[in-house]
Symmetry: C2
Subunit: 637 residues, 2 copies
């Protein structure tokens, strides 16, 4: 139960023993976040989000579904067949939170939840409140009803709970269920059943269980559940299996285009990355490379959002990226972050950290309101004012997914490799990093993402390497100095700058990442974005909302390529943001369009348009004020 | 069975006795089409399309489903639960075809089909091959399984068959089924069941049955089936009822936005228009006006296509008109034409004929290949080359819908009102029009839609009014002369020019509709079309295909507002079309985008682009050559 550094692992993925991972995580509780941007969000997650979600779980019968199985309630089953997973994700989120911040009340709630869950487990280890009592005979009859999906979330929760509390109470429940699944499913030659879940998730959970318990059969089961896909084992009733939707359209190793249900796809890929980290099978990594490239260069929004289609919550065709109808589920962004995190550990390539950062600050963070109490399921890049965050959903996967991501954020900031420390993200705070038999103290200060001036102080003397991620979005002018001595111009955007030396305690590295506003253009096959730009600054995507602008102008204003762009930090705006303002030229008058959809072009536009000002705010902060039109892509002139 | 003119009605809608219709139809067999554009298409429909569809109906078990009910086959039910409707639509198409062109072989096939259908009718009048034998007990248990929808198509087929053949064989089957439905469903106070079909269609059929038979209970039943919507009578099992999808979200008279499944919506609206024509209830007409306006000015493609979403084959939000993902089902365009036709009869407003024409030449006509053997279900306005017409579909509503529309086209060209003859469409041929107790001969010649020079000769002397539709797309320069004498400048675009006089046999009206290429722009809320133009000429929308152009250039070329546009009639191209060519400026190079989806804007574009030529063809003719990229909306400069 301990990794090679002798500590109980405490991070989202413990690949500290994974033989095919280049990097190894630094436990979440080895890192303290003391950051002007993130610390208030993590506190709000703990103080507002987790308690309010816990209440929702009771109010919507999700806890009571467990109580009815153990005979403590005679209520009928409530909600949807996968509702157990929300309970598990909430426990996972609460556990990560408890790892860094003690909270007796939350701790009591988690203990209570664990007891309730344990009482609902069947003698044979099976656990799913939907397939209990009157539906007990229907176990494992329909692979689209998320039995393994729910189990996977239990496994992840159990690992987090074990790491946060040291208790094995939930972990024992999890391993009993994993053992049960392993007794039912397996290769044909074992005489067991073939099949896997229509919704991937269990793969990640099983590999984590393997890492925590050392029980190799969990890894083998995860591998089997991947291998069985795409071979027609799932049958074809109702055209539901063998489908792209279920990631069952072809064997994983042959996949070369990311298709189907976006969350299913990236959860599966994250699970396969976990398997690769343990087995090193090249065919798996090759497929992951193809899929990651296809996603990022063909099917991803500039926000990092993924999933273009409402129909099937799915990836679309290449370059199919409608802005207003973007599906871009919050969970899909989180799944992609989980996948990229695992790829980063495997390969140490900064592009994975770049994508993680993009999605963290944009596609994922937009999924929760500034007050931490309402959520987006879809995160479109254009809106007319009707899309608003909701306090809960019938399908409530996204809220606890956001909560567990925020609660575990400290685990994603650093990694180690031999005697090198990788700094992936610039989030102020302290870390106590185990490096071989040493523990190295590192402290970051800075004002990211509003400013790119970061100071990193080394608090422990010794010879080792520090690797600083130079974000892929960086342009010219990045500088680094050690104790005030400039080490020369750095042009390593999208890679890690290695600083190897014998450090003295108190050495300070100053990293300066200039953050001009960047005009981003899009491949012209994305018809909607042709002739338009999106504005980014640092890791942040920007958007314009009606409340700061003339709503009609958002449809037509044109941003000249030569226009000077101003930025202002506004402490009172949206919890404190750097806003953008720029002089733009008005386009066509919208008022003349009041009644008609199509018109003949009325001669040439002879009027010299007057300039007007356009204000933009960070995309993550949209829809936190009064409803109105929002646009990311602005016409370019 | 005869209308007030003493003739057996023979047109799609016989509202000749409808008290609340301003116009009355001229029977389809009173008009002979002898038109260079349409006559070959109608002949191909008769010689190629109808026989090949008949074979598909046999091959796919649609006829055999009837034989198994009558005990002549022991095959299981084949295909989908609404497959009867395809047989009925094919009979309707064949009947309209027989009305104008005798064809003994086709006539025999129709007789055989009628006998097969009759043998499958139950003693109580019920008729639906899906709900027979083993499923007989499930009749009327699920209102989403199209029992009334299929019945409605039988009713329309029966009316057409009766008019074409004089036989009552199919009409008797139809009235027995209508009587059966009327015995089961009706207002609560009658002790009958409440309910209506999840897919409107039966309403039109019932009103037509009323018109043919004079049996008022059919009209009352149609009215009931509209009135029952939106009141929760359909229950809420599976969230399926009370839905916009089923047009059950609110009472019809309260509707003010066109939403939900597009075909369902326009079929319902067409049926309600039929009811209004008989009852004159203002609340119905008011709702129809609101819905028609909302559709045409907020939710319609420039092709006349409707239905923006694959999800639910549905109308989207206002201004939600994605080009490549346009659903724009062929059946929806046809349903809209049926609706507009009925509105035209009710109100005599040329805007309805304008929309009918737009959809006839574009949204509908693109639905069938030039060879008459393959069909589009969706008609997108942009494509990457993968969307191709198919010879048949599991859900094969569109192919016979196209066939019946083409076969009955002669019935949509003229209408009468008191002593006025309305000429709605410029399609060459002859008409013998009953006007009171006179029969007026009218002959059209011309080259529409390639040219706008139309000659109309009056072949019967007498005093009456001729009303010529001046299309809404007309610009300045429309001229009309009678026997060579110019009657002055006409600026009546979108209305009817009334010519009242005492005509001599042989009088000739020359109408000249100039057809410059029109640049059309779109409301800027349709983000994808901002800064773009579509080209139209006469009633035709144009598009550019890769085969005539550089595929990559289609993404980025810019059409200057001042560019001269050339047109050429090319007899060998696509069965003979007028093509458009225009000098355009190349936009951004696509090659530099090979590997990336997003890039920083690389300074200002300093290079002077070289002009290149862009060629466009009529939208209806796209995808008849080798597959490749297609675009309607071209960037404007």
């Amino acid at each position: 139960m301990t990794d090679r550094t002798g500590r109980t692992p405490g991070v989202v993925v413990d690949s500290s023993r994974s033989p095919y991972a280049m990097l190894h995580p630094v436990p979440a509780d080895a890192v303290t976040i003391d950051d002007q941007f993130w610390a208030p969000r993590i506190r709000r997650n703990r103080e507002v989000t987790l308690p309010s979600q816990g209440k929702q779980l009771w109010k919507t019968g999700r806890f009571e579904n467990f109580l009815r199985v153990s005979g403590e309630s005679d209520s009928p089953f409530q909600g949807r067949f996968f509702n157990d997973s929300d309970v598990y994700k909430w426990i996972e989120a609460a556990s990560w939170s408890l790892l860094n911040n003690s909270d007796p009340d939350l701790s009591d709630q988690v203990d209570e939840a664990t007891a309730i869950i344990g009482a609902a487990q069947q003698p044979d280890g099976y656990l799913n409140t939907y397939f209990a009592l009157e539906r007990a005979d229907e176990r494992w009859t329909d692979f689209d009803l998320h039995e393994m999906y729910c189990a996977g979330h239990l496994f992840q929760a159990a690992v987090a709970h074990h790491r946060a509390t040291g208790s094995s109470a939930l972990l024992d429940i999890a391993t009993r269920l994993a053992d049960h699944i392993g007794s039912v499913f397996g290769p044909i030659e074992t005489g067991k059943r073939s099949g896997t879940d229509g919704h991937p998730e269990v793969e990640m959970g099983l590999v984590e269980l393997f890492r925590v318990t050392g029980e190799r059969s969990y890894l083998e089961l995860a591998q089997f559940l991947v291998d069985v896909r795409g071979h027609g084992f799932l049958g074809d009733a109702y055209d539901r299996y063998g489908s792209e939707y279920h990631q069952d359209h072809r064997p994983f190793r042959e996949m070369d285009e990311i298709v189907g249900h976006a969350v299913r796809a990236v959860y599966l890929n994250a699970g396969v990355a976990d398997i690769y980290a343990e087995t090193g099978e090249t065919a798996l990594l090759d497929a992951l490379h193809r899929l990651w490239w296809n996603m990022t260069e063909r099917k991803m929004y500039v926000s990092g959002g993924i999933g273009s289609r409402y129909e099937g919550e799915a990836f679309g065709d290449e370059y199919e990226l409608p802005n207003q109808l973007a599906y871009t589920e919050t969970c899909a962004a989180i799944g992609s972050m989980m996948w990229s995190w695992r790829m980063l550990l495997i390969e140490g390539d900064a592009r994975y950290a770049d994508l993680f950062e993009l999605q963290l600050y944009n596609a994922m963070l937009a999924g929760v309101s500034l007050d931490g109490e309402t959520y987006f399921y879809q995160n479109p890049l254009a809106d007319e004012g009707a899309h608003r965050r909701q306090p809960w959903f019938k399908t409530a996967c996204c809220p606890p997914n956001v909560a567990r991501t925020l609660a575990s954020l400290s685990g994603y900031l650093y990694s180690v490799r031999d005697d090198a420390i990788y700094i992936h993200h610039y989030i102020a705070g302290e870390a106590r990093i185990s490096l071989g038999d040493r523990v190295i103290g590192v402290r970051q200060t800075g004002n990211y993402p509003w400013g790119g001036e970061i100071a990193i102080s080394v608090e422990t003397a010794g010879e080792f390497e520090l690797r600083l991620r130079i974000p892929g979005w960086s342009g010219p002018g990045v500088t680094v100095s050690v104790n005030g001595a400039d080490i020369g111009v750095v042009s390593l955007a999208g890679s890690y700058l290695a600083l190897r030396r014998t450090w003295n305690a108190g050495d300070v590295i100053d990293l300066s990442l200039p953050m001009p506003v960047r005009r981003i253009e899009c491949h012209p096959a994305v018809t909607e974005n042709v002739g338009r730009v999106a504005l980014m600054r640092g890791p942040l995507l920007y958007c314009a909302e009606a409340i700061d602008n003339q709503a009609n102008e958002l449809l037509t204003v044109m941003l000249p390529d030569a226009a000077m762009i101003d930025t202002t930090y506004e402490p009172e705006l949206l919890g404190g943001v750097t806003s953008i303002s720029v002089l733009v030229e008005p386009g066509d008058s919208v008022t003349r369009w009041k009644e008609t959809l199509f018109q003949r072009v009325e001669g040439l536009n002879g009027d010299k348009p007057e300039s007007t000002s356009l204000k933009l705010i960070p995309y993550y902060s949209w829809a936190n004020r009064e409803p109105g039109r929002m646009r990311v892509w602005i016409r370019r002139k």
